[in-house]
Every structure is written in C-alpha cells, then in structure tokens.
Symmetry: none
Subunit: 124 residues, 2 copies
Amino acid sequence: MFSIDYHSRQPIYEQLYDNVIHLVSLGVLTPDEQLPPVRQLAMELGINPNTVSKAYKNLENDGMIYSVVGKGSFISGKSDITEWKKQEITTKITQAVQEAVKLGIEQQQIVELVDTVYKGGNQS
Amino acid sequence: MFSIDYHSRQPIYEQLYDNVIHLVSLGVLTPDEQLPPVRQLAMELGINPNTVSKAYKNLENDGMIYSVVGKGSFISGKSDITEWKKQEITTKITQAVQEAVKLGIEQQQIVELVDTVYKGGNQS
DNA sequence: TTAATTGTATTAATTGAGCTAGTACAATTA
DNA sequence: TAATTGTACTAGCTCAATTAATACAATTAA
C-alpha cells in the first residue's frame, strides 16, 4: 500500500507523509478510514515505529489525519489541503512551462520530459 | 554574488553548482570568465575550501566550467546562454512534475496543462 | 629565479539529521 | 482483565556533509 525508497535523500517519514496525501488524492484512502497502526506499518515496512509515528504526527499537525490513543489514526474529513496543494503545484508547472516557451523549447520535448518522470526517471 | 542557504537540505556544494548555472543563464557570468578562486570564495561564504572545490569539480565533470591548476576556473564557452537556460528550466520542470506525481496528479492532466500553455492559455 | 596564487588530492575529525532501540504510559477495545 | 493503540522519552547508531590540516603541481608576478 505504501511505497518507500530507502535510499532516497528524502526522509522516510516524509515519504510516508507524501504517500498518505497521494492515496487520499487518488481516493484510495477515504475520510474516517483507519490507517495502519504505527507498530504494524513499521513492521511491514521494516522500519522503526518512531519513524511512522513522526509521519503520523506531521500529518495530524497539518490536519490530514486525526489520531486517538487506543483507537488509531484516521483520514481527516476535510481533506481540502490536497486540493490546495494540487493548485499550488499546477501553478508552479504552468510558470515553468511558460519559461520554456519563451526559450523556444518544443512542446514535444516537455511532454517527453513529463513522460520520463512518470516512468520513474530522475529519481532520488 | 552567490547566495547560499546554510540550513537547506540541499548540500552547499550543490547550491553552489546551481548558482553558477543560474548566473550564466542570466548572463551575469559569461564564457571564459573566471570564477572566484576556491580559497577566496570559501572565505567569502564562510565555508571550507573543500566544499567549493567539490562544486567546481562537479561543474567541470558536467562540462560547465574548466579548471587549470595555477590559473583558475572559468566558465565553459562551448554552449551559449540559451543552452544554460534550457538546462535550468528542464531541471525546474522535472522537480515540479515529481511533486505532482506525489500528489497523485495524472500524467494526462499535466500534458493537458502543457498543451494549454502552448496554445496561449494562462498568460501573465 | 623566487614567491605568491591557483586547482587538486589526501586523510582524519566533526557535525547534525535521520533512524534505531528500548521502555513506559494512557486511553480504548475485546 | 488483557490486548491494542497513540504518544513520549532517552540513548545510541549511521551516514552524508562539512570541516580541518596538509601537501603537491602548475601558473603567474615580482
């Protein structure tokens, strides 16, 4: 369910954070759905519970999830933060592409670049 | 001349690398122009000469500059400013798209976004 | 020729973020 | 009551980045 790159420069707890947002934006995780328990997810991923806890803690601070001791961690009902972030990144891409146009870069080159990224290129 | 964020997750030597490319793309640094000596730049930025050296070494490996013992390091003259700008914007787009992937934005949406920009939409 | 400047190389030590390890506590659930 | 859950805390480990100290070779300027 969660995919982690253990050799990435990006910390595991941040990758976990991004994973949750990603899954929510895809509709895989829905509001009030329970996330895997800290210990269980840590065991599945072969990492320390503290690392998972840190990810959950950050997600809760940002309003993406809510946690209750003894019950678990759940997806927040108001996940509009995802939409806000999508808007932000859309703007960033638009601006970057506009610069590319000014430099005379062909549209096809950009499309190929995007394709490369989606195929898993330029990682870590 | 160079701006470094000492608290960034990105290593100083990489920031220095990006700085040189940026300055060339702006036309501030021109081909065959000499870069600050390793020791001098290190002192100005309050960092270790080895860190500057590492940045210069990487820049030379990528053909961005050329270094001569006893003389100094100089901007490569092989490619004109436009090529440097393309290099910079390509990196920027790649990073932005990578963020989009994390958020679960579909590839088609990005392609459509690019298409819109190239058709003249989203003008500033 | 001599001294200063330059890039380069090497080895060792230091620093800090990230992660692990172990334990404990409180609230909830079965 | 016992198991599960999130949370908190301290200590230690790992690794990349950076620092530190030196040395060497080529160039430049005196």
